[in-house]
């Protein structure tokens, strides 16, 4: 995640670092996307620590509700944690698209680029895991989808699913909680350190991220619904495209192979010749647009 505002700027040339090449967000007066993403992530981690103090994996939804209702400002910390996580995801995806669209992969080392790529599945796991940890009706469905997708991996898939999601998807939350607050978060931090060669976020970008996520947190309560008989489980918005694809295709293709190919293609960009990289970028951008359309359709229907 590049950051033009850092005094310890990375030696890698990025859209923000290249003189005269201002990033998309910067053009509208916002901090660079990478900096904004890192700031949102920092807020997410800090607010997550507060939320974790009231979380009970044996009664997740209930403990979150009690945290919201009975803890002073618990409602805000929970909402801030959720919306800053969403902001991180949006920022990371936008940051990646910006890099691909501006062919920045050609100006970045392969290791740095692969680190950026590797952060995507980790963030996806953290986001899905976070939704599953809410422990409400929809969370059970999210955990089941996570477990099902991981189980579809040949050989070690079922074992990995049990370790990463829990043997009873949506039931025992202890394993998922450990990965959410520790393993996966630490892994993401390690990837960021590799990618940015720094850890501390930019103060202004963090303040803007706090303003954006906090503003939403003031007015929108994150999902938590224990409905005995839901008419349909829609899942979080970022899962919408995946849900639609899973409805119409085998899980191992649409849930595993397709994302793996996209990620592989993204990670391999610096290694490809310019001609092939151009085609790959086009494929990635089309895939991004298609997924966005699918997510929008899923959200609409």
């Amino acid at each position: 995640m590049g950051d033009s505002n850092s005094k310890t700027a990375t030696p890698e040339p990025t859209p923000e670092a290249t003189p005269g090449a201002r990033g998309w967000a910067q053009r509208v007066g916002l901090p660079a996307l990478g900096a904004l993403t890192l700031g949102a992530l920092a807020i997410c981690v800090l607010s997550g620590i507060v939320v974790a103090t009231g979380f009970e994996p044996g009664r997740p939804a209930t403990s979150i509700l009690s945290f919201e209702v009975s803890r002073p400002y618990g409602w805000f910390f929970r909402a801030l944690h959720a919306w800053s996580a969403h902001l991180s995801l949006i920022g990371l995806v936008a940051h990646t698209i910006e890099y691909v669209a501006r062919r920045s992969d050609r100006q970045t080392s392969a290791g740095n680029w692969i680190a950026l790529t590797a952060s995507l599945p980790v963030v996806a796991y953290l986001m899905l895991g976070g939704r599953a940890l809410v422990g409400d009706t929809e969370a059970g469905g999210v955990a089941a989808v996570m477990h099902g997708l991981l189980s579809a991996v040949p050989m070690f898939g079922p074992a990995a699913a049990d370790v990463l999601v829990g043997a009873t998807a949506g039931g025992d939350m202890h394993g998922l909680l450990i990965h959410h607050v520790a393993t996966a978060t630490l892994l993401l931090v390690a990837i960021i350190v590799v990618h940015l060669k720094r850890l501390v976020p930019d103060a202004i970008a963090t303040a803007v991220a706090l303003g954006l996520a906090g503003g939403v947190a003031l007015v929108v309560r994150p999902a938590l619904s224990v409905t005995p008989m839901p008419t349909a489980l829609r899942g979080p918005w970022f899962m919408g495209g995946l849900r639609l694809m899973l409805e119409h295709g085998p899980a191992w293709i649409v849930g595993l192979m397709l994302p793996a190919v996209i990620l592989g293609l993204l990670g391999a960009l610096p290694l490809l010749s310019e001609a092939r990289a151009r085609v790959a970028r086009l494929v990635l951008l089309v895939a991004g647009v298609v997924y966005s359309i699918l997510a929008a359709v899923a959200g609409w229907t």
């Binding site: 910067q26 939804a61 509700l65 209702v69 202004i204 803007v208 003031l218 224990v226 005995p228 008989m229």
Partner: protein, 575 residues
């Protein structure tokens, strides 16, 4: 410094301060500082935010106590929402309506079997009613029920496809429990539709009324007779007849009261079961009322219990379906929880094996639903009249029904320029039907061959004219009916000596497949017996032990045809 940089630098403090102010304005506990109420259902603890505002609700019995199971289990909505709008999102005030019942009353862990069965029952879709109406209007050649005969398959958005459909939609459909109930609370005699609510809603108990708090109707397996009356005081009027009430013409001198809907009534002898304190569900099992999962057209196919189930208890009954046994156990437990006596003995069982769980076969007793009193189950007498040869086809009701509501004529007029409420569209729509009954009264029922081949009580159903439609209708229809006026048997003469046409009509059609009027040959046989009844007036008379052989002996002696032989015998006695 570029303009973008200025914006970026000023945005950060503005946003941060804005959020801080917003947080402080909303406060530490914007959802109130009351803790989140919890309920435990099936061993699982669940947050039930509804109780933060509705914790004072009273009136529901132990089976649906909101402090134990909350509100959202029945009414849906979002019990985890922290604001009123969110909490009421997706909520159903009348949870029992059949369209929503699979997710409310019928959800797994509650009453899935019952909700599934009732959805296929005749009370939900009224298939027989629709089929007979289409037959009556001449739109079909037979009253046979077709798969399309289901009130719920009629399109509320479309105009009725035929006069029969229009007639049903405007005059009949409100009763059927597939029709949604729209008003909360207990409307008593005027209550219509509402799925599970139609029967299982009771007024809050007096004890609850004395407590502080908002009142909710009780929802219970203890279905009171008042729940049945609203609909079953119409058409066959069994809910009235059972208690000896008869609908009369307003000018009839026998009128001595009014129903809550204003119809004039008189009184006569009630059913013996009513005298003993029975209510509807003392005989009618849950499988008979809510169905056993089969799709049937008419009541005679749906009703589970028969007189013989209690009064000839030694008959062989099939084994009890597992689900029926489970439900019976649940109902016995529910009865005990409501303070009913503990009943542990083997119950009487219906023809389909359904346990009549408030009975004890060994002690021959039944505990009455509404009073809790124990009554003796009386076995049918082993008397000669129950074994008379020639009477094998008689149903119990044929002899033990002294009277039935009789309606001599019905004039139905369609006015296309008026409008009337359509109970399928749930709106006022063009066209109105006006019924003018004539000669409302009561008397001995007619006898004909019922749909199962047994001699059964019949009533006018109807002698009607329908005008104002393209093809006016004028026909005489007879419908089988168990009027629920059980009493001591009719005397022999009432069937054999009366003017036969007044007991066994020869003109007209029946409204059930398999039913028919008595044939001329059967009528002649009845008349022949009648000739003897005039002198041999007691059923135990040797002549009736085997009437066919008695008649053959007479023919041999008189050397004449059966008719002439009887005639000559009559003459001799007369002389």
């Amino acid at each position: 410094m570029r303009p973008g940089d200025v914006l970026r630098l000023s945005l950060a403090p503005i946003l941060t301060v804005g959020v801080a102010v917003g947080v402080l304005m909303r406060g530490a506990f914007p959802y109130g500082d009351a803790s989140m109420p919890m309920v435990t259902i099936d061993g699982q603890e669940r947050p039930e935010g509804c109780l933060r505002c509705h914790g004072d609700i009273r009136g529901l019995g132990a089976a649906h106590d909101p402090s134990a199971m909350g509100c959202s289990a029945c009414h849906l909505g979002d019990a985890t929402a922290l604001d009123e709008r969110g909490a009421h999102e997706g909520m159903h005030t009348i949870a029992g309506n059949l369209a929503i019942a699979p997710r409310t009353c019928g959800q797994q862990g509650c009453h899935p079997s019952e909700a599934t069965r009732v959805d296929r029952s005749i009370m939900a879709g009224a298939p027989g009613l629709l089929a007979v109406n289409r037959f009556t209007f001449g739109e079909r050649d037979t009253p046979r029920t077709e798969p399309s005969d289901d009130l719920r398959r009629l399109d509320p958005a479309s105009a009725p496809s035929s006069p029969a459909e229009s007639h049903v939609r405007k005059l009949c459909a409100s009763c059927h429990i597939g029709n949604p109930k729209t008003e909360v609370g207990d409307q008593g005699f005027a209550s219509r539709g509402g799925g599970c609510t139609a029967c299982h809603l009771n007024s809050p108990s007096l004890t609850d009324k004395q407590q502080k708090g908002r009142l909710h109707p009780d929802v219970t397996a203890a279905v009171k007779e008042s729940r049945c009356e609203g609909c079953h005081a119409r058409s066959g009027r069994i809910a009235l007849s059972f208690h000896g009430k008869v609908e009369l013409e307003p000018t009839d001198p026998r009128v001595n009261g009014k129903l809550p809907d204003g119809r004039p009534i008189g009184t006569t002898s009630p059913d013996v079961h009513a005298k003993a304190g029975f209510s509807c569900v003392d005989c009618h099992t849950e499988r008979g009322l809510m169905g056993d999962g089969r799709v049937v057209g008419h009541g005679f196919e749906a009703v589970d219990v028969r007189c013989e189930d209690c009064h000839q208890p030694d008959k062989v009954v099939p084994s009890t379906p597992a689900d029926a046994a489970r439900v019976a156990e649940v109902l016995r437990a529910s009865w005990r929880n409501r303070g009913g006596p503990n009943i542990e003995g083997e119950p009487y069982r219906t023809q389909r094996g359904t346990p009549m769980w408030r009975t004890d076969r060994q002690s021959g007793r039944q505990w009455l639903h509404e009073t809790g009193e124990a009554v003796e189950v009386i076995a049918a007498k082993e008397a000669p009249y129950h074994r008379l040869l020639g009477h094998e086809r008689l149903s119990c009701q044929a002899c033990h029904t002294p009277w039935a509501p009789r309606c001599g004529s019905c004039h139905t007029q369609f006015e296309k320029n008026e409008s009337q409420f359509d109970h399928i569209a749930n709106a006022e729509t063009p066209g109105a039907w006006h019924e003018t009954a004539g000669k409302n009264g009561f008397g001995p029922p007619l006898l004909a061959v019922g749909p199962r081949g047994r001699i059964y009580p019949f009533v006018e159903g109807m002698t009607l004219t329908i005008e104002g439609i393209e093809k006016p209708v004028k026909r005489m229809l007879w419908a089988p009916l168990d009027p629920h006026t059980t009493a001591e048997s009719r005397v022999c003469a009432s069937c054999h000596l009366e003017e036969l046409e007044t007991v066994y009509p020869s003109a007209g059609e029946t409204t059930r497949v398999g039913a028919r009027l008595v044939s001329n040959e059967e009528r002649e046989r009845i008349r022949r017996v009648g000739s003897c009844v005039a002198c041999h007036s007691k059923y135990e008379d040797a002549v009736f032990v085997d009437f066919r052989r008695s008649l053959e002996r007479l023919r041999g002696r008189e050397k004449a045809s059966a008719t002439d032989a009887v005639r000559s015998c009559e003459g001799r006695v007369t002389e």
